[in-house]
Symmetry: C2
Amino acid sequence: MEQLEEKIAKEAEVISDDILQVDTFLHRQIDPSLMDAMGKALAKRFADHGITKVVTVATGGIAPAVFTAMYLNVRCLIVDKSDVMPLDDRCSITVTSKTQQKDFVLSIENGYLNEEDRVLIVDDFLANGNTVAGVAELCHMAKASVEGIGICIEKCFQDGGKKLREAGYDVQSLALIRTMSETAISFRMQKEAFTDVF
Amino acid sequence: MEQLEEKIAKEAEVISDDILQVDTFLHRQIDPSLMDAMGKALAKRFADHGITKVVTVATGGIAPAVFTAMYLNVRCLIVDKSDVMPLDDRCSITVTSKTQQKDFVLSIENGYLNEEDRVLIVDDFLANGNTVAGVAELCHMAKASVEGIGICIEKCFQDGGKKLREAGYDVQSLALIRTMSETAISFRMQKEAFTDVF
């Protein structure tokens, strides 16, 4: 998605080998018109998947997920992310974020997903894929099917995308970063990403 | 705002004397078309205030704030909410949430607000007003002016709205709850709220 790639090229900051800071338009500060465009683009890619619910993780995924849900005309479910296990009996799973170098617990309230739900998972970043894989597992625990995974920024030099596609998920990313350094960020072409490479 | 009041009447759950759970459309699960309508309504109320930035607090405020910012054609700044003081030198303030019965630290990264900014604060709830007052204080610390406060749901039986209006802020709420119990929720009329009562 050209608009997102241009924004990354102009405003994103490479903090380390695997951390890309997008605080000016996606995290600390949100550019609503970009969120609207990203939501529209993701909804278009999954328009024929019969999605009944968009599922995301707080907080970075909320804005793009809500716009995607709006264009798909479904509700958006927020997965809780916490340092501790929930005290009640809700569905929960512990995942390790390699990017943040820590474990955390993902959970969803009982009753928000069921076997009739066809889920599109939306998140801001895809790197090692552990968070998204954890969300997918939570959906399966609730007996819902995962019909797609929509990502704003995928870091192709990490293996999350590869693992999720090999596991059979339809993963679509709006911007695919091939390499990044303090001086340059290069993007993988969309076509290349969805046909030749994986 | 009739659409929001209807949603509250239909789906919200009164958990205790001062806790209203709106998990099905605003918190755990988000209804995007309602967020869009609320953002449009808040933007309309503050259209002539020369707003340059919408400021909100994670996570409940994010969705309505981003839609408000979209309709005002400005960016949306997210205030960090944490249990601990930030280690760097960013603007921060400790506030007490009476609803959650705990202290937390609000902070914003330096450089995102300056003396030229005219801020609209948007949040999901207004109860005792400590969080919103803390956000306003942070804006002042960054030398920005607070031109308005836009709230989705104000609990009028708590004194946050009264205190903020007495302090001179233009507070506009989309739904004003006069009383609530397990069996009934009554709303204050908008006109009544902005003329006679305060």
